[in-house]
């Protein structure tokens, strides 16, 4: 059912993304392109190389994302908008933090999806 393909793509993408992030975030490089933009808190980074460098340099070793909600909508040009909330646990810190992350997936000329926008925010008080 074509109308729901994007939902399944979004679900699979999110599952892959956080598994990869939590085990080896350098492996996320394949999801980004030169025109991709990551906004991690206030800092924005353009391009797959700098994005992976930014993610790798984040000041924690162990990290675990627990996804609470996931929603997605098809957007323009075959893109998919994904909005996730969940809890983030880093290193030995026992207190989980709320996060939200919005992805705008776009298709490249070969038809594959890549992350066009990635906006991550911690929203704990």
């Amino acid at each position: 059912m074509a109308a729901n393909d994007f939902s399944e793509i979004a679900r699979q993408f999110v599952e892959f993304y956080y598994n990869q992030f939590d085990s080896d975030r350098k492996g996320l490089a394949s999801l980004y392109r030169e025109q991709s933009m990551l906004t991690f808190e206030s800092g924005s980074v353009l391009g797959a190389g700098p994005i992976v460098e930014k993610l790798s340099s984040l000041p924690f070793e162990k990290v675990k994302h627990q996804v609470s909600t996931l929603d997605s909508q098809p957007t323009v040009e075959g893109g998919i908008l994904i909005l996730i909330t969940g809890a983030l646990l880093v290193d030995e810190e026992q207190r989980p933090m709320n996060f939200t992350q919005a992805f705008q997936l776009m298709r490249d000329p070969s038809g594959g999806y890549f992350v066009f926008n990635d906006i991550f925010k911690l929203i704990f008080g």
Partner: protein
């Protein structure tokens, strides 16, 4: 089978006799029923409660020297401290390393012969129970003291010492063999009483009790030596105590002629042991916490070459309420070398570490010191103000991911205008909002996060009943049909669901910007139906986090909720509003305040030098341009932190900056 080695002290060589003793003498139970005192190391203090009444006992003589031992008020505890001293100084004591290991006094072993010849030997247990009861009762009687003499361990040597094995006291058969020798262990004091029973008659046989391996003699020698050491160390301590200033001056101990003469400064190991003994003596001299506070407020351990607080860790155990510590001239080079004292000096206000390699000016070092010594106010003579301490504390708080301001890359103020318009209209006129920004292809969905993390003091979450049937959380809604049904497309469907949602009141963005976190990014490649919008062919993605007050008419429930909402905006169609909502995703959480990113400056993690420079540039740019720091930072980061370029860029773009980019909104 190899003969068992004749172990000492804690080495268990046989079964204890506690069970038989219990059954034979009721009077002892009574004396034992007093509360049992446990000393700091967790040892049972067997002397508890009896000391005061022992003063009428004739002073014990030391058989090794024939001299009477010191007596008076310290007699009782002398035993304990001497045990500590002798263990610490005799070079025995493998338990030097861990002071928490239980430290009973070393046991003294005596050999008893004659059981086999006695009539009791025909008892079912070979007479052992009676023999032990006899020894304990008689020895207690001979000593005419309140506290009973106790045999703590028993070892039966069957045959003779060469062919011995560990016997079972209650085993009847083993004792019927020839030449039974009973070895008994007790405290040194008790052994001195028991050995007086030599040649006593027991059940028709003469007992032969001897210090066959010199165990008692050794203990006496060690005890005499320990007594000597204690007395000398007490002298040293008293000479180094300044009554008027309540200062105990333990600096430069290696230069102390008395200590040098004692020969206990020969190795680092022995110096550490000496320090432990000194602390034990202080515990003796000042028995209560109040005694210590009243008499010793300051201690100097300066110029002792100390490399790690573990070497003098006991200082914190003996003087936990110390106020001033002079620790200058030692070899502490990192905070970690003080970790042994972490949190132990709850009242320490002054810490001097001058002349140690540790970099006290370093922010991390300071922060750790403030954490280790929570009342610290004077570090190396520098007064630490409460503000400074709060800054240091903030620097150590866990902040694995720095929270900064938003990244709002608007174009011609379109994003900002949309948001201001949107939330006001969503509260007041949802139908009008839909008519203005939505069309037949616009999409809306909402999801509910019922598991979000909240502050402990946050109000209980509002009911989710209105939202749950509409929630499109794809981790829970898994069938294609349900997924499709909960994604609304077109004004009419969206209006239907919006009209079923509770009334809302969002904070005014302009007045209450700290209640929002908003990010905005341009999306290139969106088709522009009209070709004439302010954003050309671009759309934008906006991510907003915030809160609203809700009133649910159905349940009459009023309260706050937190939300996140993501929009994709695209160019409007000809004849309509210049922009339209392509996607609108709403996400609801139980209310929890957002981090106030505009006040976050005080809780930033400690800047590295590079970051400090950047912070300085941000501050200066904000000062020159009146932009809020988040915009200054954005501006600087876009030009690679070149300050002059950032100023130039500001003047290029200030016309299109949103009003909230400026501090004086």
């Amino acid at each position: 089978m190899a003969p068992p080695t004749r172990g000492r002290g804690g080495q268990s060589r046989g079964s204890t006799t506690s069970a038989p003793r219990k059954s034979t003498r009721g009077g002892i139970q009574k004396t034992r029923s007093r509360p049992i005192r446990v000393d700091r190391d967790g040892d049972l203090d067997m002397d508890a409660g009896s000391g005061a009444r022992r003063s009428n006992r004739p002073p014990p003589t030391d058989p090794g020297t024939g001299r009477p031992q010191r007596q008076g008020a310290t007699t009782r505890s002398t035993t304990k401290i001497q045990q500590v001293i002798s263990r610490h100084l005799s070079g025995e004591g493998t338990d030097m390393v861990s002071k928490r290991k239980p430290q009973g006094g070393p046991l003294v072993w005596l050999e008893v012969k004659g059981l086999k010849e006695s009539k009791a030997a025909s008892n079912p247990d070979g007479g052992l129970r009676d023999l032990l009861a006899f020894l304990e009762r008689k020895a207690t009687g001979v000593a005419s003291r309140i506290r009973p003499v106790v045999v703590k361990k028993v070892c039966l040597a069957i045959g003779d010492a060469q062919g011995s094995h560990i016997g079972v006291p209650n085993g009847p058969s083993s004792l019927n063999r020839q030449g039974a020798v009973v070895q008994i262990a007790s405290s040194k004091e008790d052994a001195e009483e028991i050995i007086k029973l030599n040649n006593f008659s027991f059940a028709g046989a003469k007992l032969e009790i001897s210090d066959s391996d010199g165990s008692l003699a050794q203990a006496n020698a060690a005890s005499a030596q320990a007594q000597d050491v204690k007395s000398k160390l007490t002298d040293v301590l008293s000479q180094r105590y300044m009554t008027d200033t309540k200062l105990l001056k333990l600096d430069a101990l290696s230069q102390d002629q008395a200590l040098v003469a004692m020969g206990i400064l020969e190795s680092k190991d022995r110096v550490e042991k000496m320090f432990r003994v000194m602390m034990k003596i202080c515990d003796e001299l000042f028995k209560t916490a109040k005694d210590k506070i009243d008499n010793i407020q300051s201690i100097s351990l300066a110029n002792n070459g100390i490399e790690n607080a573990t070497q003098v860790e006991e200082l914190a155990d003996t003087f936990p309420d110390l106020v001033h510590l002079e620790f200058s001239g030692n070899q502490i080079s990192t905070v970690a070398q003080l970790a042994a004292w972490k949190g132990k000096f709850r009242k320490l206000e002054t810490l001097h570490l001058n002349g140690n390699p540790i970099p006290v000016a370093d922010l991390k070092t300071r922060a750790a010191l403030v954490e280790y010594f929570p009342k610290l106010r004077d570090l190396n003579g520098e007064q630490l103000t409460p503000e400074h301490i709060e800054q240091l504390r903030a620097a150590t708080r866990p902040a694995p991911i720095p929270q900064h301001g938003p990244d709002f890359r608007d174009a011609n103020g379109i994003g900002e205008t949309f948001l201001v318009d949107f939330f006001a209209a969503f509260d007041a006129d949802r139908h009008g909002l839909l008519a203005k920004y939505y069309d037949e292809e616009s999409q809306f969905s909402l999801a509910v996060d019922t598991n979000s993390i909240r502050n402990k003091d946050a109000p209980p979450p509002l009911s989710w009943s209105t939202y749950i049937p509409k929630s499109r959380n794809l981790t829970r809604i898994t069938t294609p049909g349900a997924r499709a049904a909960r994604l609304l497309t077109g004004r009419e469907s969206i209006f239907k669901i919006w009209s079923e949602l509770p009334a809302t009141q969002h904070p005014n963005i302009k007045e209450d910007i700290s209640k929002y976190i908003m990010d905005c990014h341009l999306l290139s490649g969106l088709a522009d139906p009209s070709g004439s919008t302010g954003i050309g062919h671009d759309g934008m993605i906006i991510s907003v986090h915030g809160q609203f007050e809700e009133y649910d008419a159905a349940s009459s429930q009023r309260g706050l909720r937190s939300f996140s909402r993501s929009f994709v905006l695209g160019p409007g169609r000809p004849g309509n509003n210049p922009i339209r909502v392509v996607s609108d995703m709403l996400l609801l959480r139980a209310y929890n305040p957002l981090p106030n990113i505009f006040a976050a400056g005080t809780a930033q993690p400690e800047p590295s030098d590079d970051q400090a420079l950047r912070q300085a540039k941000i501050a200066e740019l904000s000062k020159q341009t009146n932009m809020i720091p988040a915009y200054s930072e954005m501006c600087l980061s876009e030009v690679g932190w070149d300050f002059d370029q950032a100023v130039a860029k500001f003047h290029e773009t200030k016309a299109v900056l949103p009003a909230n980019a400026f501090a004086s909104v």
